[in-house]
Structures are given as C-alpha cells and as structure tokens.
C-alpha cells in the first residue's frame, strides 16, 4: 500500500467518524427537540407544568363542557388520592377550582410528583391551569391528609366539537429517587 492510498483512506475515515459522532449527539439532541416539538404542536397530550397567567376571558355561558377528573397511582404508591368529583360541567372562559385529596397511608415521609395528562391530546392547549399541585413536588408527612386545589380555565377558543375532556393525574412516588435524595 503506498502513501497516497493511506492518505486517501484517512481523508475518507474522518468524515465517516464525524457522522458517527454526530449521530450519537443527534440521538441526545432529539430529547429536547422532541419536547419542543410536542410543546409547540401540542401533540402527544404533553401538558405544560408551569402556571398560566391569569387572563380574563369572555365567559361563554351557552356552552358546557364535561370535564372528567381521573386520578391514578404509579406502581401501587401508598397514597390515598382522589378528586372531589368524578366529573364536572364547566363553561369555557370561567375560572374553576377543584379540590384533590392526598393522604399518606404510611408512617414514613413521602415525596410524590403528579403528572397531568389531558385527553383528547389536541385539547391540551385549551385547558389552562393557574394553580396546580402538579407544578411542584408534593411532600407528605407521615399520615398527612391534604387538600390540593387546581384552578383552571378552559380557553373559549376550544373547538366546538369538544364536549368532553378528561384531566388525569398520575402520582409517582419519588421518595427514593436518586435525584431527589441528593437534594434532601
């Protein structure tokens, strides 16, 4: 093999190696890209966990939307978790507060995080929460029972064909989570 051939091999290997490294990075870049994509398009029912600004809407008394409230626990988390009602009827543009109840069923301190989800996915962007227990971690003292209010409004821009929506919360036990225990 002469020198010329070795050089041209090297010239070809470097760009290929760059593709390999680039694709490794691209895999990681897809994580924020995916989140941004879901947030902008509202696809995948991904719900913002930041509070929305309290804006005045024109209340649409003529329309009524049924909002179902669903609570769930991940992996048998020992938490009593329910909403004050299974479903409520709401008018778009009007602010409501619904109460959720959480009760630590153990004698240990418990840290949880609630992850919201809204169905149908395309309606996610119209349900705006100004106050929610899902915005931050929830710490429960042993056997503590607590009310957790959610204040929300449905944007009157909600398409006409939406008559039923579901707001569900899943509680995750993050008491022993490494990222969490570091902070404590």
């Amino acid at each position: 093999m002469d020198n010329r051939e070795t050089n041209s091999n090297a010239r070809l290997i470097w760009p290929i190696a760059l593709i390999v490294i680039g694709m490794f990075g691209f895999g990681f870049a897809l994580v924020p890209l995916y989140n941004v994509f879901c947030e902008i398009t509202g696809l995948n029912g991904k719900v913002k966990t930041e509070s929305a600004a309290e804006t005045e809407y024109k209340v649409d008394e003529s329309r009524e939307v049924t909002l179902e409230l669903v609570t769930a626990l991940n992996q048998n988390m020992p938490l009593g978790f329910r909403a004050e009602a299974n479903k409520i009827k709401v008018h778009p543009g009007k602010y409501y507060t619904v109460k959720f109840f959480g009760e630590n069923l153990t004698g240990e301190k418990m840290v949880g995080r609630a992850v919201p989800s809204i169905a149908p996915g395309w309606a996610t962007q119209y349900l705006k929460k100004t106050e929610c227990f899902c915005f931050s971690e929830q710490t429960f003292e042993p056997h503590e029972r607590r009310e957790m209010p959610v204040r929300f409004v449905i944007d009157p821009a909600l398409p006409e064909n939406a008559v039923e929506m579901t707001l569900s919360y899943t509680f995750f036990d993050i008491t022993g989570h490494p990222a969490n225990s570091k902070k404590n």
Binding site: V20, M23, G27, L30, L43, N44, V115, T170, F172, A179
Partner: protein, 529 residues
Amino acid sequence: MSAAAATHDEHHDHGPARGLMRWVFTTNHKDIGTLYLITALIMFMVGGAMALVIRAELFQPGLQLVDPMFFNSMATLHALIMIFGGVMPAFTGLANWMIPIMIGAPDMALPRLNNWSFWLLPFGFVLLASTLFMEGGGPAAGWTMYPPLVLQTGAALPFTIFSIHILGISSILASINIIVTVFNMRAPGMSLMKLPLFVWTWIITAFLMIAIMPVLAGTVTMLLTDKFFGTSFFNAAGGGDPVLYQHLFWFFGHPEVYVLILPSFGVISQVIPTFARKPLFGYSSMVYATASIGFLSFIVWAHHQYTVGMPIEGELFFTYATMLIAVPTGVKVFNWVSTMWKGAMTFETPMLFAIAFVVLFTMGGFTGLMMSISPADLQYHDTYFIVAHFHYVLVPGAVFALFAATYYWLPKWTGRMYDERLGQLHFWLTAISVNVTFFPQHFLGLAGMPRRIADYAVQFAEFNAWSTVGAFVFGFAQLIFVYVIIKAIRGEGEKANDEVWEGAREHGLEWTLPSPPPYHTWETAPEIH
C-alpha cells in the same frame, strides 16, 4: 506498478500463519470473513435453541416447561442474538470474504480495524449470555427494551446495555471499513455502476449502520443513566416521557430492519442471474431502488407505535410513507422475476433458496403493507400477526439469502463442491417447515393472540401445536446445513473448478479466481471490461 510487483515477489510464499494464533492476529479479509461466518453459525444455533425453548413451552396452553420470566428472557435473547449475532455478523462475514474479491482489491482497506471489529463480538456475546445467570435473570422486557418495564430488570440491565454498546461499536467499525474499501480500493475500471449488486447493497447498509448504531448506543445509555444516575429521560415522574424512548429506539430500529434485509437483496441479485444464465434485469433500477429504500427507512419509524396515541396527521404521514417503501421493493421483485424470465434456469440449492426468498419475502412484504395501514394496525399491534410478519421477512428473507449465499460461494471458499443431494434435502425440509411454523401465526394473530406470553387461551392450541412441530423440524433440518459445511471444510466431496457454476465467469470476478482462492488475491489488480 513496478514497486507493487517487487513487493509481490518478496511475499510470494506468505501464506497464513500457523497455529491458533493465526485466527487471533489475522488481518486477512478471508480469515476474518471465515471467523465472522462461523461465529454467526454458532449464534444461529444458540438463538435457534432459544426459539425451540419458546416453541416447546407454547406447544400446549398452560405452563409446562419454563417459568414465564425465563420464557420472556428467551424471547428477548433470541431476538438480540439472531439480529446482532446471527444475521448481522453473517452478512459482515460475507462482505469481508467477497467484497475485496468482487471489486478486485487485495484486502480490506483497514485490515487491523477489521480484526478488532471481529474480536469485539465474542466478548459482547459472552457478556450478553452471562446475563442469564445473574440475579434477577436475563433481560426479559423484549429486544426493544421499552422503559419503564426494562428498568425493572435486575443485575442484567447494565450488562445487556454494555453488550449492545460493544456489538454496536463492532458493526460501526465494520461499516467504516466496508465504505472505505469500496470507495478507495476498487480495481481500475471498476466504476461505481459496474459494482456487483451485493457490493452496492452493502455500501448502503454500511451507511445506514453508521447513522443508526450511534443513536441506539445513545438511547440505551439514557436507559442506563435513568436507572443508575437519576436522570429522567424516560421517567414521567421527572418530566421525561417513555414514548420518547420508542421514538428514539425505532429511529434506530426501522433502518435496522433494512440493515438485515438489504444485503439479502444483494445476495439474491447475485444468485438469480447466475442460475438464470442472464445478466441481472434492470441493474441501475436495482441500485436506485436500494438507495430509496435506504432513504425511506429513516422516515417511517413511528409505524411501530401507532397505538401510543399519535395525532391523526402523524398516523397519516407514517402510513403513506410506509406504503411508499412497497414501490422500490416491488421494483426489486419485478427485476428478479424478469431476470428469470426466459432464462436457461437450473435449480441447484442456491437457486432454490433464492426463488423461495422471492416468493416468501414477498408474502412477508404484503403483511407489512397490511400493517402499514394505521387503523388496521390497531388490531394487529403486538399480536402473533406481527411475529408472523417479521419472521417471514427475516427467516425466508434474510436467513434464506444467507443459505443461498453459503451454498453459492461455499465451493469457491473451500474448493469442494457441497453435497447437492443433502443441500436439496436441507432446502425442502427448511422451506416446508418454515411455512408450517410461521403461517399459522398469521391466524393466531388475527384471532388476537398476543406476543411475548408463555401461556394462552385454549382456542389457540391447535395452530400453536402446528407451529411448534414446524419449528422443531426447521431446527433439526439445520443440522444438515452444518454437516454440509463441515464436509466441505474437511475437503470431502468433488473438487470444484474455478468457475464452479456454468457460465458464472460472466457474473463476477470471484469466479475467475481458483477455488479455493489463494490466501492473497488481486495483488495485481484485475482488468475490468
């Protein structure tokens, strides 16, 4: 050229080194090709044995032989071993053996890298197999390793992930080597559009691999950090999303299935013209079809996840993009059939496997088309229909292409004609049993039997029993294949001439070399016409 000729004289008697260390230190493309092929054959038997454990358990409803956890590890490891241990190394072995010979190069461009990329494999597999003996058992969440389920794996999780890293690095290195070889080492006059189709399909496969293997490596690394370092890539409690994993995985996973099948297309495109005694019909359309399949494979991944709750626009896009793949694939099938049309065909074992490939792969393709329709897929998702589909494209697809390739080139590699009678017996047993095994699974899937379960409802009993009988016949028929290979390697059987197949000289440079070829070939580049 005179300098090259002088070196040639000095090394005139330079054959393989003696003893076992030859295989450890070798940088010869033929040696490394052989190592890859033997490893793949062993892994094919190991993965096959795991499949038989699965089928034995499913022979009857109820739990008879193994516990469900072990059953699930068998399903997981069967897939990982067949993909990363069977099919991929087998094709890499073929590439190592044949590409330098086919393009008139003296060796691969990066021989030492080649040695390393092979020797990573045995370590990867030992690591993977060792997980079966770890606390908590082997990985049992399926080869797709979806979180959060896979995060419940015991001690096996990090070892599974590391072995995937190792196997991924190995295939990346092999791909780099193949690309550099084809671009830099072609004999003068061997223009890109004169390359044999096997070489073409391998270039495109190699490009797919360097693009997707790093993504897989990154994705499984995220699993690792989620489990052990408190990150939340896929953990909903920390703001992550398990569905993201599926997108990342299938961004790798869909091109990966073309990594498994494109070299098969290449093999079939070599075999059919030889036995039809005609040049390949539509050579350039084959090249373009392969390239478009390669491109399309990157934009269809989410058809594996129609049920995760995609918006309607997404479902439509992925449905149409997936259906589009049927066009270039159809071009290929059309070209193979046209090559056979009015050809002077003979039906030696490689040709039999090639014809069975065309027929049965097309059937697997049709079920794929059925599943591409997202509203219909809601019914098929995660049922035995999927199992039947991907086994039809992988077993009578990729594996039959490997059988065809082995029978086709074995006389060239060993200098001995294989036993044609045994080859035909192997073919008929395999071709019939593969259908007995997988055809009933279509019906099971349509009737709603889910995949990856150790037990099932009684109404599925009959089809499962057939499937198991077929699988055992298939499994034991492969011992004939092993016997045929061992016989040829030991130098038993009729001596093969250089051309091996009548008129093969027209179909590739490999048939102008002696059988077996000397240890070093094309030290002087051949003349290309």
